[in-house]
C-alpha cells in the first residue's frame, strides 16, 4: 500500500448532506418518533453543522437551539451561537447554567481541587488542564493543571490522582447540567436530542458519559473533523465560526482540544485516525502529517490507549443476562 494521500478525507459535501438528512428523517420517523430536535449551540463548528443539518432534515420550525453559557465560558460563545440561530432561523432559549453549577458546588469543588496542588490559587485566577505531549515524552501521558494569576506568569503542576479525578468530576457537572436542560426542553416540546460529536470525539472517547455523550441521534459522529469543516462551508455556516480554532470551552483559560486530549491538531489527528482505521502503517501516514515514522507510531499507540481507556463510555449498562425482548 502506498503512503496516505493528503486529500484522503475529501468528501462530496452535497452528497454527504443528502445522505445525512435522509438518515435523520428516517431515524425520526421510524425510531425516535419525536416531532423535532433540540441542539445545544456552543458557537463551535460541530454544533453549528449539526443544527444546520437538522434544519435541512426537518425544517427550521422543528429545530430548537439552546445556548447554555456559564461564567467561565468564552466571551464569543454567545455571539457566535446566536449568529448561527439567526442565520438559519432557529428558535432558541438562553439558559445560563452558572446558578445550577453554583448549587452543585462546582466552583467551590473545582477551586478546592486546584488549591490542593497550587495553594495560592484563588479569586481572579484562571486555569485549565493540559496533557503531556506524547511527541516530546516517551513515557505515559499525564495531566497537569496550568493556573494563571491575575498578574504574573502561569504556574504548571502535574496532577496527582485525587486532584485530577476531582477536577474532571467537577467539570463534568457542566456537560451533564447542559444535557439535563436539553432533555427538559426536548420533553416539553416532544422533541429528541441531537448530539454533536465528530468522529475524532466519538471514536476516541472525548465526551462525558451522560453529558455531551448522551443523545438520541448523532448525525456527524461518522465524520472526521476535516469533513465537518467541508460540510460547514457547503452549508454556509458563518465564516467567523468556521475560522474559530476548536476549543473545549470547559475551563476558564482557553484550552485547545489538542493540548488536553488529542495528540495533534485536528487535521493531522484526522489523517492519523483515518490511516489507522484503513490499514495504513505509521510509516505510510507519517509523511502526510509531517511526522517521523516513530512519532506516527506513538500517535497510533495513543489512539489504541484512548480507545481502550474510554471503551466504557460507549457501553450500555452491563446485564447479567441479555433481555431478548428489548430490541436496541
Amino acid at each position: 500500500m502506498q503512503k496516505l494521500p493528503k486529500n484522503a478525507l475529501q468528501i462530496d459535501p452535497k452528497h454527504e448532506t443528502e445522505r445525512i438528512v435522509t438518515a435523520m428523517r428516517a431515524a425520526m420517523k421510524n425510531d425516535l418518533k419525536r416531532r423535532g430536535l433540540v441542539v445545544a449551540l456552543s458557537g463551535g463548528i460541530d454544533s453549528s453543522v449539526t443544527a444546520v443539518l437538522a434544519v435541512k432534515a426537518l425544517g427550521p420550525g422543528r429545530v430548537f437551539g439552546l445556548e447554555m453559557p456559564e461564567r467561565q465560558s468564552a466571551s464569543e460563545t454567545l455571539s457566535l451561537s446566536g449568529m448561527v440561530a439567526r442565520h438559519f432561523g432557529i428558535q432558541t432559549a438562553h439558559e445560563d447554567i452558572s446558578g445550577i453549577l453554583e448549587a452543585y458546588g462546582f466552583y467551590r469543588r473545582y477551586d478546592a481541587a486546584v488549591q490542593s496542588v497550587i495553594p495560592e490559587y484563588g479569586e481572579g485566577w484562571k486555569s485549565k488542564i493540559v496533557s503531556s505531549d506524547i511527541m516530546e515524552t516517551r513515557g505515559f501521558s499525564f495531566f497537569s493543571i496550568v493556573a494563571q494569576p491575575p498578574k504574573g506568569e502561569p504556574v504548571k503542576k502535574r496532577l496527582p490522582l485525587n486532584a485530577y479525578l476531582e477536577i474532571v468530576a467537577a467539570t463534568n457537572f457542566k456537560q451533564r447540567t447542559r444535557k439535563t436542560l436539553e432533555y427538559y426542553h426536548a420533553d416539553r416540546l416532544n422533541y429528541a436530542v441531537s448530539g454533536t460529536p465528530n468522529r475524532l470525539e466519538y471514536e476516541l472517547g472525548f465526551f462525558v458519559k451522560l453529558g455531551d455523550g448522551a443523545a438520541d441521534i448523532k448525525p456527524i459522529a461518522h465524520l472526521y473533523k476535516t469533513q465537518v469543516y467541508q460540510l460547514a462551508e457547503y452549508l454556509d455556516v458563518p465564516a467567523e465560526i468556521r475560522k474559530r480554532p476548536p476549543t473545549t470551552d470547559t475551563y476558564s483559560m482557553p484550552q485547545g482540544q489538542d493540548e488536553f486530549y488529542f495528540a495533534l491538531p485536528y487535521d493531522r489527528m484526522d489523517l492519523c485516525l483515518y490511516g489507522k482505521n484503513n490499514g495504513y502503517t505509521p510509516a505510510q501516514v507519517a509523511e502526510s502529517v509531517s511526522l517521523t515514522p516513530e512519532q506516527a507510531r506513538r500517535v497510533y499507540a495513543d489512539i489504541d490507549t484512548k480507545k481502550s481507556t474510554t471503551r466504557y463510555l460507549h457501553l450500555s449498562p452491563q446485564l447479567v443476562e441479555k433481555i431478548a425482548e428489548i430490541k436496541n
Binding site: T137, F140, L159, P160, L161, T305, S308, T309
Partner: protein, 86 residues
C-alpha cells in the same frame, strides 16, 4: 518472591483485577493487557509514592520503569538504592 514484588502484586491483583490473577505473570504488560489505563497509572504512582515513601519525577514515568511487575521491582530497587546509599 521479594517482599516488594509481593506487595506490588497484591496491590495490582486486588485493585485492578478484583482478585482474579489468572494469566497475570511477572512480565505481563499492564498497558498491553488492558490491566491499567492512564488513570490507573496515576493510581499506581500514588500507591508507589505512599507505600514506599518515594517521589517520582516526570521523566521516570515510562513503561521501562512501570509497565510490569518485573519492571516495577527493578525500578524500585534502583530508586531506593539512590535514596538510601549504603
Amino acid at each position: 518472591m521479594s517482599d516488594v514484588k509481593s506487595t506490588l502484586r497484591q496491590f495490582i491483583v486486588e485493585n485492578f483485577l478484583f482478585g482474579d490473577d489468572d494469566g497475570f505473570e511477572d512480565d505481563t504488560s499492564f498497558l498491553e493487557q488492558g490491566i491499567i489505563d492512564s488513570t490507573g497509572m496515576l493510581e499506581l504512582i500514588t500507591f508507589l509514592e505512599e507505600e514506599f515513601s518515594l517521589q517520582l519525577d516526570d521523566e521516570e514515568l515510562i513503561p521501562e520503569n512501570l509497565d510490569s511487575l518485573n519492571n516495577l521491582e527493578a525500578f524500585l530497587a534502583k530508586k531506593q538504592a539512590v535514596q538510601q546509599p549504603q
